[in-house]
Amino acid sequence: MVPTEAYIILSMVLFAMGAMGVLLRRNAIVVFMSVELMLNSANIALVAFSRHWNQADGHLFTFFVITVAAAEVAVGLALIVAIFRTKQSINIDELHLMEG
C-alpha cells in the first residue's frame, strides 16, 4: 500500500505549483486554472487522510470543495467574459485603472 505521506507530498507539490501559477502567470484563465489546481491538491490530501483514518469525513469535505469550486467557476468565467467585452483583453497586468 502506498503510504499516506506520499500522497501528502504530491498534494503539497501541486499546491505549490498552483500558488506559483497564481502569482506568476498573467492570463486570467490560466490564473483561474491555477486556483483550481490548489483546490484539487487539497482534495488529494483530504482523500488520502480520509483513507489514513479509515473514515468518511474527508470524502465528505471533498464533495463540498468540488461543489464550491463549480460555483466559483460560474462566477469567475462570467467575470472574465465581462472584462473581455469591455477591454478586449484578459491579461491581468492590464487591470490597473486604480493605483496608489
Binding site: T4, I8, S11, F15, G18, A19, V22, A28, V31, F32, V35, M38, L39, S41, A42, A45, L46, A48, F49, H52, W53, Q55, D57, G58, L60, F61, F64, V65, V68, A71, E72, V75, G76, A78, L79, I80, A82, I83, R85, T86, K87, I92, L95, L97, M98, E99, G100
Partner: protein, 501 residues
C-alpha cells in the same frame, strides 16, 4: 454511529441563518414574478426578511446549544455576530435602493446576493466544523464577487470584481488546504474534537504537530486575506474603490464579521493548546501579534497619503482590522480569552455603525457616474449640508476613538484585553497608531468646516440614505454614551469549550 433523528438536528436554534438563506431563494422567485412596475418592492421584502431574522436571533439569544449533528453552534457569540451582520445588511439595503436607481443598476437580484452574503457571515459565526467554516466563507464571498462587479459596463467595477475574485479564490484554497492538514493531524473536522485530540498529539510529540502548525498557519493566511490584514491586504484599496459604494460599505463590514468570527472560533475554540515547549500561550500568538502590529502601522500610515475617500476608508478598514487582531492575539491567553472575544465583538459592533455611516456620507456626495469621491469634495459641506457634515464629523471622531463615541468604547475594551493578556508593546503600538489616525480623519473635518469653497449639493442624500445616516449616527452615539447596552449582550460570551463536547 446512529442516524440522527429529525429532533436531534435541533433545527430551532439554526433558524435565524437558515431562514435568511431559504428566504433569499424565495426572494429571487418573488423578484422574477413581480410585475415590472412593482419590482421596486423587492428591496422592501429583503428588509422585511432581515427584520424577521433579527427577531428570530433575539428569541434565540443566550442559548448555548449545538445543532445539525454538532456542526453548528448557537451561543451568545453567534447571536451577537448575527445581530451585527443583520444590522449591517439592513443599513446597506437602505443605502442601495436609491444608489442603484440613480446609477442605472436597479436589479432585484442585488438584494438576494446581499442577503446570501449576510447568511454566509451568520453561518461563519456559528460554524463548529471546518467544513462549515469553508462553505460559509464561500457563501459570504461568492455573492460579494458578483456585487463588486455589479455596475454594468463600468471598467472600474469589473476590475474590482475580478481582483476580489482572484484573491478571494486564492485565499480560500489556503483555507481548504489548512483544514485538510488539520483533519489529517486529528482525524476530525469538528472544532471540539480537534480540541480534545490536540493534548495527546502535543504530549506524544508526534509528527502530527507539524501538520497542525502548518494547517493553522494556512487557515490564518486564508482568513487573513478575507479580513484584509497586512501582509494580505494588497487587494483592499483597489476593490473598495472600484466596487459600487453600498457594496464597499457592506464588504468592509460583512467580510470582517465573518472572517473574525471564524478566526476566533478556529484559533480559540479548537487550537488554544497548540503549544511548543514550556509556554502557556499557543504557538499562533506571536504570529497574530506581529500581523496585528504590521496591520496597525501600514494601515494607518498609508491612509494619510490617500486623496480618494473610498481608498482612505479602505486603508482605515485595514487599520481597524489591526485593532480587532489585537483582541485575537489577547485571546491566546486562556485566562483572558473570553474577555478578549467580548472586546472583539464590541469593537465589531462599534466599527459597523461608524463605518457604514461614513460610507453613507461618501455615497451621498458621490455623483451618478462614480466621480466626486475625493477628499476635497468634502470642502464646504458644513455650509451646504450641515446635518450630514455634523454626522460625518461624529463618524470621523468615532473612527479615531474620541470619548463619547462608539469607537472609543471599542478601543477601550480592546486595549484593556490586550493589557490584561500582558501584551504591553502591542497596546502601545495601538495607542500610538490611533494618534496617527487622527491626522487623516480630522483632515476631513477640517475640509468640511474650515476650508473655503462651494459646498457639494450632495445629490445622493435621498430620504432613505438620510435614514441610514441617522441610524448609524444613533448607534455610534448610543454605544459611546451607554456602552452597557453592548456589554450586557456580550456578558455570557465564552469561546473556550463553549459547548461541552
Amino acid at each position: 454511529m446512529d442516524i440522527p433523528s429529525f429532533a436531534d438536528l435541533n433545527l430551532g436554534v439554526t433558524l435565524p441563518a437558515v431562514f435568511l438563506a431559504l428566504g433569499t431563494t424565495v426572494l429571487l422567485l418573488i423578484d422574477a414574478f413581480l410585475p415590472k412596475e412593482r419590482r421596486h418592492l423587492t428591496a422592501w421584502f429583503a428588509l422585511a426578511g432581515v427584520l424577521v431574522s433579527f427577531v428570530l436571533t433575539l428569541f434565540n439569544f443566550g442559548s448555548s446549544e449545538t445543532a445539525l449533528a454538532g456542526m453548528f453552534v448557537a451561543d451568545s457569540f453567534t447571536g451577537f455576530m448575527n445581530l451585527v451582520a443583520l444590522t449591517a445588511a439592513a443599513i446597506t439595503i437602505l443605502l442601495s435602493i436609491d444608489y442603484l436607481k440613480r446609477t442605472g443598476n436597479a436589479r432585484g437580484e442585488f438584494y438576494s446576493l446581499l442577503l446570501l452574503s449576510t447568511a454566509g457571515a451568520m453561518f461563519m459565526a456559528s460554524a463548529n466544523d471546518l467544513i462549515v467554516v469553508f462553505v460559509a466563507l464561500e457563501l459570504l464571498s461568492i455573492p460579494l464577487y458578483i456585487m463588486a462587479a455589479f455596475r454594468l459596463n463600468n471598467a472600474k467595477s469589473e476590475e474590482s470584481g475580478m481582483k476580489y475574485f482572484i484573491l478571494g479564490a486564492f485565499s480560500s484554497a489556503f483555507l481548504v488546504y489548512g483544514s485538510a492538514l488539520i483533519y489529517g493531524a486529528t482525524g476530525t473536522t469538528n472544532l471540539q474534537e480537534i480540541l480534545a485530540s490536540i493534548g495527546g498529539i502535543v504530549e506524544a510529540g508526534s509528527s502530527a504537530i507539524f501538520y497542525l502548525v502548518i494547517g493553522a498557519a494556512l487557515i490564518v493566511v486564508g482568513l487573513g486575506f478575507k479580513v484584509a490584514v497586512v501582509p494580505f491586504h494588497m487587494w483592499t484599496p483597489d476593490v473598495y474603490e472600484g466596487a459600487p459604494t453600498p457594496v464597499t460599505a457592506f464588504m468592509s463590514v460583512g467580510a470582517k464579521i465573518g472572517g473574525f468570527a471564524a478566526l476566533l472560533r478556529v484559533l480559540v475554540t479548537a487550537l488554544p493548546f497548540l503549544v511548543a515547549g514550556q509556554t502557556v500561550e499557543p504557538v499562533w500568538q506571536n504570529t497574530i501579534m506581529i500581523v496585528a502590529a504590521l496591520t496597525l502601522i501600514v494601515g494607518n500610515f498609508v491612509a494619510i497619503s490617500q486623496s480618494n475617500i473610498k481608498r482612505m476608508l479602505a486603508y482605515s478598514s485595514i487599520a481597524h482590522a489591526g485593532y480587532i487582531m489585537m483582541a485575537v492575539a489577547a485571546a491566546a491567553n486562556p485566562f483572558t480569552a473570553d474577555f478578549a472575544a467580548r472586546s472583539a465583538l464590541i469593537y465589531l459592533l462599534a466599527y459597523t455603525f461608524t463605518n457604514l455611516g461614513a460610507f453613507a456620507i461618501a455615497l451621498a456626495i458621490e455623483k451618478d457616474d462614480g466621480s466626486g469621491t475625493d477628499i476635497k469634495d468634502f470642502v464646504g459641506l458644513a455650509r451646504s449640508k450641515p446635518v450630514l457634515a455634523a454626522a460625518m464629523a461624529v463618524f470621523m471622531f468615532s473612527l479615531t476613538g474620541i470619548p463619547l463615541t462608539a469607537g472609543f468604547t471599542g478601543k477601550w475594551f480592546v486595549f484593556q484585553a490586550t493589557m490584561q493578556a500582558g501584551l504591553v508593546p502591542l497596546a502601545v503600538i495601538g495607542v500610538l497608531t490611533s494618534v496617527v489616525s487622527a491626522f487623516y480623519y480630522v483632515r476631513i473635518i477640517v475640509n468640511m468646516y474650515l476650508s473655503d469653497g462651494e459646498g457639494d449639493e450632495a445629490a445622493g442624500a435621498t430620504p432613505l440614505v438620510n435614514w441610514a445616516v441617522y441610524i448609524s449616527f444613533a448607534g455610534t452615539l448610543l454605544l459611546g454614551v451607554f456602552p452597557i447596552l453592548a456589554t450586557n449582550l456580550t456578558e455570557t460570551v465564552t469561546l473556550l469549550a463553549s459547548v461541552a463536547p
